[in-house]
């Protein structure tokens, strides 16, 4: 965990209400894909937790959707402005369990943390299959970016305006040769993925947070392995521990 000031290099809309923000600063505290950062915004008391889409030595890429006043404020920020961030929060995905052919399933604004995960899995010599679900064609982002990492990328839209018509589960049902799964998206999708997948896997959860670093217990959930704080012991939980 690190608190630092991060400079905005890029902040632009890449799909309907979805923005890509690239921050410059210390990334040495990010230890795994699927972690998040917590951003302080002028005029808002609590920080905004946003998952890390990608990072390298001195930049962090975030993809976020404008859903309220805080993200609206973020969307209005310009290159050169600075943000106070807590970086390297949460447990992140564990790639050691993936096997050779892991399945990555992302829904909407849950997709971003899977990007760096995909990169890492590929760098470890694995061949991931990626399934991305969106509501409609205007919502689509990062499909090309994933395709540059792995040839196996399928897209589903709920209204059929792009790719396969329907939900991600329709695609999962047809697959048999995956060794493990990783998923992030709306809770209803997570549950459907949990029910459809035949392997073990890891699911990234969301909850309203106070601090983001485990102090307030605001975002706790009950699991088969005991109470866990989504911000500190999560946001990634393994399939076997989840209680719906």
């Amino acid at each position: 965990m690190n608190q630092g000031i991060y400079k905005i290099l890029i902040n632009h809309e890449i799909a309907k209400d979805v923005y890509e923000m690239i921050l410059m600063g210390d990334t040495s505290h990010i230890t795994a894909p699927g972690q998040f950062i917590n951003i302080q915004l002028d005029g808002f008391y609590l920080r905004r937790p946003i998952s890390v889409c990608d990072y390298n030595k001195d930049t962090i890429t975030l993809l976020y959707k404008v859903v309220g006043a805080g993200t609206e404020k973020m969307a209005a920020m310009r290159s050169g402005q600075e943000l106070d961030c807590l970086v390297g929060l949460g447990n992140g995905f564990d790639t050691s369990l993936s096997g050779d052919h892991p399945l990555l399933i992302g829904g909407g604004i849950g997709i971003p943390p899977l990007y760096n995960l995909c990169k890492k899995l590929v760098s470890e010599g694995k061949t991931p299959t990626v399934i991305l679900g969106f509501n409609t064609v205007q919502d689509i982002f990062y499909v090309q970016d994933f395709k540059e990492l792995t040839p196996n990328v399928c897209v589903a839209t709920a209204d059929g305006s792009f790719g396969v018509k329907g939900f991600v589960t329709a695609i999962i049902e047809k697959l048999n040769d995956y060794t493990y799964f990783y998923t992030c998206g709306p809770e209803a999708m997570l549950k459907a993925v949990y029910d459809t997948t035949k392997s073990s896997g890891q699911l990234s959860f969301e909850e309203r947070m106070g601090c983001g670093f485990g102090a307030c217990m605001g975002c706790s959930c009950e699991t088969k392995y005991g109470n866990k704080r989504i911000c500190k012991d999560g946001p990634i939980l393994v399939k076997e521990e989840i209680i719906w």
Partner: protein, 303 residues
């Protein structure tokens, strides 16, 4: 060289800054950010007889200059706190800690306080009779002078360490509750707990918090806390630990002028994990600016 030492019923603190219960866990999360031995002390997570998960989520909502929580006293229970959390804490915190205890009956308060009183690491026992987030629980004791008196008296009978009673602001007359605690033998008063609040989401048109209501804290409540500390200081002789929206060294001075001997910092730790460190570092400069040589000399100075 300014003097920041304060004395809480014989427990001398290097400075008056104490992170408030429920915002600092058992210290572990913050030791990753800074050496927490710079603190005066800290008040650990509200602990009950039985382990508790607390209330359903969502249990956090944001407000202007503050937040609402309905965590509902999630904690591992007194036995585990003593067998696991305290020994862990001993490795990284070497000062007397404030043990925050909650209960759902006088028997539970007595049970937990008697146990925690025997722990060497504990300097002060802070009895929370004011959690707004538990039904039939803590708050019932904090809203009635007779009950507040009974809890205080029962706890005092089984303890040797200073007992501070943590009061709720959600009452008509906080002075009468404070006086009842003093009559019951309390060594001090901690005040204020959170204000009962609600946040409604305009999109769903329903309360954000699953429990609907929760405790409102943060800088927005600071003037309410100062006013109440001021009123109680006039009415009791025992020391007060003041809290409620404290976020800066200036706030600390203001709270002490109102009548606080020490000051707790709560919600601010959650938005800025370095909040207490910054306050402690800022205090000498702010004291100098206002011509203060010794913090203990300004307690109640506004009266």
């Amino acid at each position: 060289m300014v003097d920041m030492k304060v004395n809480l019923s014989g427990v001398v603190l290097d400075n008056p800054i104490i992170p408030a219960s429920g915002t600092f866990g058992y210290g572990e999360e913050f030791k990753e950010f800074y050496d927490i031995n710079i603190l005066g002390s800290f008040s650990f997570k509200g602990t009950t007889k039985e382990p508790r998960f607390g209330n359903p989520t969502p249990r956090i909502a944001e407000c202007v200059e503050g937040m609402i929580n309905s965590v509902g006293l999630q904690n591992p229970g007194i036995e585990k706190v003593i067998s696991e959390e305290l020994p862990k804490m001993k490795q990284f915190f070497h000062k007397p800690v404030v043990a925050n205890i909650s209960g759902f009956s006088i028997d539970e308060y007595v049970y937990c306080c008697e146990k925690i009183d025997k722990e060497d690491q504990v300097g002060i026992i802070e009895v929370n009779i004011s959690c707004p987030n538990v039904h039939n629980g803590g708050m019932a004791f904090g809203v009635d002078p007779k009950n507040a008196y009974d809890v205080t008296k029962a706890v005092k009978e089984v303890t040797t360490k200073p007992v501070y009673i943590k009061l709720s602001p959600n009452v008509t007359d906080i002075v009468s509750i404070a006086k009842a605690c003093e009559e019951g033998g309390a060594d001090g008063i901690s005040m204020i707990n959170t204000l009962l609040g609600m946040k409604i989401d305009l999109k769903t048109k329903k309360p954000v918090i699953a429990n609907k209501m929760g405790g409102f804290s943060g800088p927005a409540i600071f003037p309410v806390a100062v006013r109440m500390v001021y009123q109680v200081y006039d009415a009791v002789k025992i020391p007060i630990i003041g809290m409620g929206g404290v976020a800066t060294a200036e706030n600390v001075i203001e709270m002490m002028l109102a009548g606080a001997t020490a000051v707790q910092v709560g919600a601010q730790n959650l938005v800025d994990p370095f909040a207490c460190k910054k306050i402690i570092e800022d205090l000498p400069g702010v004291m100098e600016k206002y011509g203060i040589n010794s913090l203990s000399e300004i307690i109640g100075g506004a009266h």
